[in-house]
């Protein structure tokens, strides 16, 4: 099959970028979207042009690196998938596909389709962990955790930090990511010890990084490859009230 890719090209952060069109032939519908970009890059190498910069690692939907805005949706036309799990069968032969980097003040473009998501790392650094002595793994049953609690924490912990929530949000809000990280730990007994401090510090960093307000449009939970629910944001808000009023 044949597709026209309309891809955002930008040398580096300071530069003005622009779209460039590439007619790509010899594609098959079983190719993943990233394989199609690989294929395009091979042709660019042969022509001696700079290849299109895009990020990936696992290519199996678990690392969260492959964030790309495709035809007006984060990670392409489907709900709850990563770009590496998107295949060309989702497009029609002859389609034009617009490919853009994540757009947000807090996610500056590094090159082409790669953005700097280290704002997320700095939010994590403010409390997305528990303080514990490392060493040999403790006995698993030393702290008993009910199944429902474990499941709830796990649902939030599923966040892979891809940034689709920020990318799709009209306000560039990081509320879904931050709430997932806070709720994951604050739900568990190990995380409760530093619960209020975690809420205070991680939300403060979220503000510091220049993310927008949450308007509860719900776009984030639809584009999130892990289907993290926006109820997490409401829960974070409740935790914020608690930390603010009682801590």
């Amino acid at each position: 099959m044949q597709l026209t890719f309309r891809i955002w090209r930008q040398e580096q952060f300071q530069d003005k970028g622009a779209f460039k069109e590439y007619l790509v032939d010899h594609l098959t519908e079983d190719m993943s979207f990233l394989e199609a970009l690989d294929h395009l890059n091979e042709t660019l190498v042969l022509k001696g042009e700079r290849v299109i910069a895009f990020e990936y690692d696992c290519r199996e939907g678990i690392c969260g690196q492959c964030g790309i805005f495709i035809n007006g949706r984060a990670h392409g036309p489907h709900d709850h998938v990563t770009t590496c799990q998107l295949h060309l069968r989702s497009f029609q032969d002859g389609d034009t596909v617009t490919v853009e980097p994540w757009r947000a003040k807090a996610f500056p473009v590094v090159q082409d389709l790669i953005v700097d998501r280290s704002a997320f790392d700095r939010i994590i650094a403010q409390g997305g962990y528990i303080s514990a002595k490392t060493g040999t793994a403790p006995e698993a049953n030393a702290i008993l955790i009910g199944k429902e609690t474990a499941d709830k924490a796990m649902d939030a912990a599923a966040c892979i930090g891809c940034g689709a929530c920020v990318a799709t949000c009209k306000n560039g809000s990081a509320a879904l990511f931050t709430s997932a990280k806070i709720n994951h730990l604050n739900t568990l007994p190990q995380g409760k010890l530093e619960a209020d401090q975690r809420v205070r510090d991680m939300t403060a960093q979220m503000e510091e990084e220049g993310f927008g307000h949450c308007s509860f449009t719900g776009a984030c939970e639809v584009e999130c490859p892990e289907g993290i629910s926006i109820a997490n944001i409401a829960e974070m808000n409740a935790r914020y009230w608690k930390a603010r009023l009682f801590a």
Binding site: G72, R73, K105, T168, G218, V222, A231, N237
Partner: protein, 222 residues
């Protein structure tokens, strides 16, 4: 703990928004008197409005109402400015229709329409009755200010009927998203409760929007 503007502003919008939502219920209930036949409606409506004007508690509520509108709008503007800054470059193609409701994406524009409505509405009624701007308000047989007459004459003008009725539509959209968002902003996260809340918000928005939208038309044909 230091206050976080991302939370503070949204909490202010949500609290004032919910207060305004509560007010709309009371306001619509009273205005339903206007749906009655003219003779009955005039007496009841004027008596009710005199009761409101002379009740000191209502005066407090009235000031809380003006303050709420002001606070809601001021923080809404601050929120919109920051949100715009957080998203400096727009996508060339963006299909947000596929992942979110139109109202949720356009709360600012919807709010602006409501603000225009509120200003015109206050000029039509509040300025005339309270400030005495425009034609003097007469008294009815019971000795109450004839607010019914003010309403009736206003809605003999088709342009005002159209304006009031059409602007009830953006109000409905604002409320459908706003009511549920406000509860989530304030930290309501109970899962089955949220589904219930979505339904209640829809019903609330339809009732308020249809209610305020129909009254001018009915009064026009009285």
């Amino acid at each position: 703990m230091k206050s976080n503007r991302l939370f503070f502003r949204k909490n202010m919008i949500a609290l004032t928004g919910l207060f305004l939502c509560l007010f709309l219920i009371v306001h619509l209930s009273a205005n339903c008197l206007l749906l009655l036949p003219q003779d009955t409606a005039r007496g009841l409506y004027n008596a009710y409005s005199t009761f409101l004007r002379e009740n000191p508690l209502i005066m407090v509520v009235a000031y809380a109402l003006y303050a709420s509108i002001l606070v809601h709008v001021v923080y809404a503007v601050l929120v919109l400015i920051r949100n715009r800054k957080a998203k400096p470059v727009k996508y060339a193609v963006n299909l947000h229709k596929e992942n979110s409701s139109w109202a949720s994406q356009n709360m600012g524009a919807l709010g602006a329409l409501i603000l225009i409505f509120i200003i015109v509405h206050l000029v039509n009624f509040w300025a005339r009755i309270k400030l005495g701007i425009g034609a003097e308000v007469a008294y009815d047989e019971a000795g109450n200010k004839d607010i019914y007459e003010v309403t009736y004459t206003l809605f003999q003008n088709v342009y005002y009927v159209a304006f009031y009725t059409l602007l009830a539509i953006p109000l409905g959209f604002h409320l459908h998203h706003g009511l549920q968002a406000a509860f989530k902003t304030l930290g309501f996260y109970h899962q089955p409760g949220l589904q219930w809340l979505a339904k209640v918000s829809l019903i609330y928005a339809i009732v308020i929007s249809a209610g305020f939208g129909i009254i001018p038309i009915v009064v026009y044909f009285q």
